[in-house]
C-alpha cells in the first residue's frame, strides 16, 4: 500500500511537557484519514509538525516518501494544502484576492483556477466580499479553497467543522467527500466530533495522551461496531449448532456470550436452545457505537492534557 504520510516514533515536547510521544501513523493514499481524540490529545500538534510549522523534538515523518530532514520535503509539500486551526486568510481581502494571493505564493502562471475554486466551495457569489464580513462557515470554506490552490494531492484539515452550524457542517462534509471521490485527494482530518468523523473517514487513528492508541480502517471498525443480538447462554457449543442449522452469522465471544449478526426469531431460537439443554439468561440488541469504541480504547478520563 502506498502511504502519503508516515511517521516514525515522532515526538514533540514543549519544555517538560510531552505533546506527542513515539507517535506512529500511516495515511494511505486516497484515504480520508480521521484522527480522533479528545481535546488536548495532540491532534493539532501532529498537524503542525506535518505542515512544517514546528519541528519534531525527536523521530521523523515522511510525506510522499520524502523525509522531513531532506530537501525533497520542500517538493513534497508543494503537493499539500492545509487548514490548521483557524482558516488562514487575509481578513481585509476579498475571497477572490485571497485566492489570487495564494496563486502568487505558489507561482502559478495565472489566476484561472480562482473562479473554479470559488464555485467548488460555494463562494462564487461572495467572491468580491471581504473575508472580514464572512461567517465562520464561509471563512472555513475559503480556507479550504486557499488550501486547494495549486491542486494538492494531500489535504490536511484541523477540526474543519468546529463551530459551524448544521448547514455549514453538511456543506463542509460534502465538500471533503467530493474532493476525495472526484479529485482523489487524500485527506487527513482531525476532529473530536466522532459522529461527524464516522460520516467521512475511510481510516481512523485514535489518539490519546500524545500517543497513537489504534489505527483501524472504516471497514474493520464497521465490523467491530456491527449491530447484533447478544445472547448470554449456558452452553455456547449448543448455540453454535443451533445457529449453524438456522444458517445465521454469529460470533462466540467467550464462554457465555454469542453475537448473532442476522435477524433472528427469538422465540424459535430460545425453543431450539432449550431442546438442546441450553439456557438463555439474557438476550438484547447490541450496537457498539464509535463513541463507545473510542471510550473503550482511551478510557473515560475527562479532558485532555492540553496537547492541542
Amino acid at each position: 500500500m502506498e502511504y502519503v504520510l508516515q511517521t516514525s516514533a515522532l515526538g514533540k515536547s514543549y519544555g517538560h511537557f510531552k505533546a506527542l510521544e513515539n507517535f506512529n501513523i500511516a495515511v494511505p493514499k486516497g484515504a480520508i484519514y480521521g484522527i480522533v481524540g479528545r481535546n488536548g490529545a495532540g491532534k493539532t500538534t501532529l498537524l503542525r509538525l506535518v505542515c512544517g510549522l514546528q519541528t519534531p523534538t525527536y523521530g521523523t515523518y515522511s510525506i510522499y516518501g520524502a523525509n522531513n530532514g531532506s530537501l525533497e520535503i520542500i517538493k513534497a509539500r508543494r503537493r499539500m494544502g492545509a487548514v490548521v486551526e483557524t482558516p488562514s486568510i487575509y481578513l481585509d481581502m476579498s475571497a477572490e484576492n485571497n485566492l489570487r494571493q495564494q496563486c502568487r505564493i505558489l507561482g502559478l502562471p495565472d489566476f484561472s483556477c480562482v473562479p473554479e475554486l470559488l464555485e467548488l466551495v460555494g463562494l462564487e457569489s461572495a467572491g468580491r466580499k471581504k473575508a472580514r464580513n464572512f461567517s465562520l462557515g464561509m471563512r472555513q470554506r475559503l480556507g479550504i479553497a486557499v488550501a486547494l490552490c495549486g491542486s494538492p494531492d494531500f489535504l490536511v484539515l484541523d477540526e474543519p467543522v468546529n463551530g459551524l452550524d448544521p448547514q455549514g457542517i453538511v456543506e463542509v462534509r460534502e465538500l471533503i467527500l467530493k474532493l476525495n471521490q472526484e479529485r482523489n485527494i487524500t485527506v487527513l482530518i482531525s476532529s473530536h466530533i466522532l459522529e461527524e468523523m464516522h460520516k467521512l473517514a475511510t481510516h481512523y487513528g485514535f489518539i490519546d495522551g500524545g500517543r497513537m492508541v489504534r489505527e483501524i480502517s472504516a471497514q474493520e471498525l464497521e465490523a467491530t461496531c456491527r449491530k447484533c443480538v447478544r445472547a448470554d447462554v449456558s452452553e455456547p457449543k449448543a448455540v453454535a449448532l443451533v445457529l449453524d442449522e438456522m444458517q445465521l452469522e454469529y460470533k462466540i465471544l467467550d464462554g457465555r456470550q454469542v453475537d448473532i449478526y442476522d435477524a433472528v426469531n427469538v422465540s424459535k431460537l430460545v425453543r431450539a436452545l432449550s431442546e438442546r439443554g441450553c439456557e438463555v439468561y439474557n438476550i438484547q440488541n447490541h450496537d457498539e457505537s464509535l463513541e463507545s469504541y473510542f471510550l473503550s480504547l482511551v478510557g473515560t478520563g475527562k479532558g485532555g492534557d492540553g496537547r492541542d
Binding site: 509539500r77 487575509y90 481578513l91 484576492n97 489570487r100 495564494q102 490536511v156
Partner: protein, 304 residues
Amino acid sequence: MAVINLLSANFFSMIRSKRFWLGTFIMAAGGVYMVLDINRMKDMAEFDGLLDSGVFQYAILLFLILPALGSLFINTDYNDGTIRNKLTVGRTRTQVYLSNLITVYAAGVFYTLVYEAVYLLVGFPVLGSLRHPQAALSKLLMMLLLFLALSALFTLLATLITNRSVLLICVFMAFGLILGAQIINAKLEAPEMIEDYGGVTYITTEDGNMTVQYMDKNGNPIDPEDIPRVPNPRYVAEPMRTVLRKVNDIQPGGQLAELLEDGHLEPDGFKTATPYWQLALYAAGLAAAVTAGGLIFFRRKDLK
C-alpha cells in the same frame, strides 16, 4: 524563484494596505512642509544651499514610520495565520524571512523617493537648485544603507514577536536608537579638562556691587585667564570612548545623527565626520549579522 513569488504576493499585500498609502501621504506632505519651512527660515539663518538643507530631513520621519509600517506588515501574517499558507506549501523559512525584509525595505526606498520627488519638485522653483548634487547623492545612498540596517533590525523583532505589541516595541526601538545616539554624542563631546572654579570668590564692594575674584590654591588672587584646569569628571576616557564612538557609528540612530549633522563634535569643539565608506561597511555588516541571527532564530521558532 520562490522568493520572487513571495515578493509578488507581499507587494500585492503592501499596495493594498491603507497604512502604506497613509505613510506615502505623510512622506509627500513632509516634502512640501520642509520646502515651506526652509523658505520661511531663509532670512533668519544662513544656509549652505537652501534646497540642499532639506534633502535629508525626511530621514527622522522615515526612521519612525518604517518600523511601524514594517512591523505591522510582517505581523499581519501571524495575525491572520497566513504564514501557514506559505510554509505548508513548501516555502522555506529563509525565503519567507528574506522576502519580508526585502518588502519592508522596498517600502522604505519608495518613501525616500516619494519625499525626494515631492521636495525637489516643489522646492526647485521656491528654493533654487542643489548646490552640492554629488554630495547629496552619496549621502542618499548612505541613507539607504542605513535604512537597510534599520529594516533588518525590526524585521528580526517582528518575526520573533508574534503579537500586536511588536508595533510598540519597534517604534520604541526606533526612538531608543535616536535618543541613545544623542546621549552618547553629548557624553563624547565633554572636554577632557575644565577650568577649576573652586577658587572663585564673590566680593561685595563698598558701593554695593558684586565682583568676582579668582584665587589660586593658596588664596592669592590670579588673572581669570590663568584659572587652573582640572580633569572633567564627565569626560569619557579610553577605552570606553572608542567603544561608545563605535556604537554610534554602527547603530542606525547614531548613523542618522552622523549624516544629518555632517559629523559629530569632538571634545575640542571641532566637528569630525566618520567616513561614509566606514558607515556603509557598518550598516551593511549590521544588516547581514542581524539577518543571519534572525534566520537562525526563525528556523527554530515553533509557529502556531
